[in-house]
């Protein structure tokens, strides 16, 4: 048997093609992987691992809930307690949309060593709902008429405060004075004065105070901190962060309960320090729209964005704040602005520089918000060497004029249009989030974080950390110092909007620089913008 030359040509002609295609595929893949690993090696970023906290051992922590509204219910779910009504709603939602995993996620959530023992809510329907949902013969739940009764009862180790803003500090201070642990929602306080009082109370108390900025648990944010610390972005001169919402829920026009009446709501107690106005359902359910109880965009949403960045950059209180805006999208009787721009100045702050010493210093934090448009403007950190988009995902683009990456850009190893780093702990996890407001929070990484690709409620992680510190000691990631910075910065923004002028901070005295004839807290509590009295102007 002999093959002719022709036979071999016909028979083996495919071999060189096979070799060429194989070689091309392998070289391509290996080459681009090498290029990528060269960039990654240069960046040397360590993606954050899930936080490990010591277990919450011993007797269960006895928790009292103060405020069982929308947020109060969410916080209870994070503690492992969901109402039947919510479970039923989520069951239906999952039937409609198989990607809705809210109930499944809740059921799979790790059980915390806590016992709900008391409820304090000025609305009878909510208090009853709490008792009906969570009270059992073995563990009866008590309703307390006032927060003082609950805190003084000796039956609660810790309280969760999810009230309107004007109640945050008084209740927190009362609890801390009784050495009862506190988890308080943001903003930590409603006035400048309260912020100092609460700080003193926290410092003198044996109890642990945690402020509800749950995003401090988000993995992408701790990774972002590593990225910034390693000088990946170079000197960051501008941060842009935004609120973009365009729905009723997002504009705080929450549902008004049909059973709400002066008989079912303890109106006097709701008002507390607020001006005495007659019973008003609108004020009760939509309190975020009035300065008397809430703090508008600057206290409600800017605080999230500020603290998100403060946890990445640790930039502290701005040296000055200017804000402007108005009520442009929801002229419905509210007196907090629904469009606001806040510029915070940090003239001495730097994230490090790749250029000549002294050339770069200082940063502006720009918060831009509207409740009349839902277009997703991402949070971006703009550095001389790179730009970072920050949310549940992280993306970094090199800057075309970067000093640090000049060689790699020159060599074609980096391209300003192509991200050099992407961190997505949720990669490939299909996801469904029901409402526009939830989507808003999810996009910002305020709702969910991912551990090994599994979606975990960041509020759950935040509360778990608080409970662990109660039992084992240690430090919470958002305690009194972080809360102090958040509250003062938010109040500066609110004051600036109300007064229409720049508000300055003196880091030496740790006080706002006084403005003649102005009592800051009087301005903050006043409804709407502050009318300059003629004698002050003249």
């Amino acid at each position: 048997m002999k093959w002719t030359r022709r036979d071999l040509l016909i028979g083996l002609g495919g071999l060189p093609i096979l070799g060429a295609v194989w070689w091309a595929g392998a070289a391509n893949t290996v080459g681009s992987r090498r290029k990528r690993s060269e960039i990654l090696e240069q960046l040397n970023i360590t993606p954050s691992l899930p936080p490990a906290v010591p277990g919450i051992g011993g007797e269960p922590v006895r928790v009292g809930i103060i405020g069982f509204g929308i947020r109060g219910e969410q916080l209870c779910r994070a503690l492992g307690f969901a109402t039947e009504n919510w479970k039923e709603q989520m069951r239906l939602a999952a039937q409609e949309d198989p990607n809705n995993h809210a109930l499944e996620d809740f059921m799979g959530q790790e059980k915390l060593n806590v016992k709900l023992v008391g409820i304090c809510d000025v609305f009878d329907v909510r208090a009853q709902n709490f008792i009906d949902s969570f009270s059992t013969p073995e563990n009866p739940i008590k309703r307390y008429i006032t927060y003082k009764d609950m805190i003084g009862s000796g039956d609660v180790d810790a309280v969760v405060i999810a009230t309107p803003d004007h109640w945050h500090a008084p209740i927190s201070i009362e609890a801390l004075n009784h050495n009862v642990h506190v988890y308080v929602e943001k903003p930590m306080t409603h006035t400048v004065g309260e912020t100092y009082l609460l700080r003193d109370a926290a410092k003198n108390s044996k109890a642990v105070l945690a402020v509800g900025h749950q995003h401090r648990q988000t993995l992408s944010f701790s990774t972002a901190r590593d990225i910034v610390e390693k000088g990946t972005l170079g000197h960051v001169s501008l941060i842009q962060t935004n609120t973009n919402r365009n729905d009723d829920n997002g504009a705080w026009n929450y549902d008004i309960h049909e059973k709400a009446s002066p008989e079912t709501i303890d109106w006097e107690q709701f008002l507390g320090s607020a001006p005495k106005v007659p019973f008003n359902k609108n004020h009760f359910f939509r309190w975020r729209k009035w300065w008397a109880y809430g703090s508008g965009l600057s206290g409600d949403l800017l605080t999230h964005d500020y603290d998100r960045l403060n946890c990445v950059l640790n930039m502290g209180i701005p040296s000055s704040v200017s804000a402007s805006g108005g009520i442009y999208t929801h002229n419905d009787g509210r007196n907090v602005p629904d469009v606001i721009q806040v510029n915070m100045e940090f003239p001495d702050y730097s994230t490090g520089s790749s250029q000549a010493k002294g050339k770069e210093k200082g940063m502006t934090f720009c918060y831009s918000a509207t409740l009349g448009n839902g277009f997703n403007r991402p949070t971006i950190l703009m550095g001389h060497d790179a730009t970072m988009e920050l949310g549940n995902k992280l993306t970094i683009w090199p800057d075309g004029a970067s000093t640090r990456y000049a060689e790699m850009i020159e060599a074609g190893k980096m391209n300003p249009g192509v991200p050099i780093y992407q961190y997505n702990p949720a990669a490939n996890v299909p996801d469904a989030i029901s409402s526009a407001t939830s989507q808003y929070f999810a996009d910002k990484g305020l709702m969910w974080t991912y551990i090994d690709g599994v979606r975990v409620d960041s509020t759950f992680l935040h509360m778990r950390e608080w409970l662990s510190v109660i039992k084992n000691g240690g430090k919470v990631s958002c305690g009194i110092n972080e809360g102090f910075e958040e509250a003062i910065s938010a109040h500066m923004a609110g004051l600036s909007w109300k007064l229409g002028r720049k508000i300055e901070w003196d880091p030496n005295t740790e006080m706002l620089k006084p403005i003649e004839g102005i009592d800051f807290d009087e301005v903050l509590l006043a409804n709407g913008t502050w009318d300059m009295k003629p004698e002050m102007v003249g």
Partner: protein, 160 residues
């Protein structure tokens, strides 16, 4: 007639090699990239067989699915380019393409993910599938490929 036969053989051989080229390259690129996974493609599956594809993405199965996909791609690529056992290759290729087609079918009303053109029921996966059918019906390995040597060997042995 004979001349037409020849033209047909050349055309089908060319088709066979190009399809093989395409499959082999896809397989090799995945083989050399340990981070590649079909997870995203399967997890975002659409249409009537969504349940089947999303069932494949479990921790226990996804590794097997990825490996089998690479092996199958390369089997089609190698058999088509070398021109041997091409009917086996064509069969495997049709199976693979049918899976790709039904995971993201271009049916009206379904979201089209990661597609670069406009399709209505027929897309490139389906066309390549039918092209594999042509290869199956008209083997050309003997005309250009290893099959020629195998066949030749047999006939030469018979002659002896």
């Amino acid at each position: 007639m004979d001349l037409n036969q020849n033209k047909l053989k050349v055309s089908v051989t060319l088709l066979r090699i190009l399809i093989g080229w395409h499959f082999l390259f896809e397989g090799v690129v995945k083989l050399y990239n340990p981070e590649w996974t079909s997870f995203g493609y399967l997890a975002t599956a659409q249409g009537p067989f969504k349940w089947f594809f999303t069932a494949l993405v479990g921790d226990a199965t996804i590794g097997w699915v990825d490996t089998l996909n690479i092996v199958a791609l390369m089997v089609v690529g190698i058999t088509f380019i070398l021109g041997i056992f091409e009917r086996v290759g064509a069969f495997v290729g049709m199976g693979l393409l049918a899976l790709y087609f039904f995971a993201h079918p271009p049916f009206p009303g379904l979201t089209q993910l990661n597609v670069e053109g406009s399709y209505w029921f027929v897309n490139k996966n389906l066309i390549e599938l039918v092209a594999c059918l042509v290869i199956y019906q008209l083997p050309t390995g003997q005309y250009f490929g290893l099959e020629h040597l195998r066949k030749n060997k047999l006939t030469k042995m018979q002659e002896q």
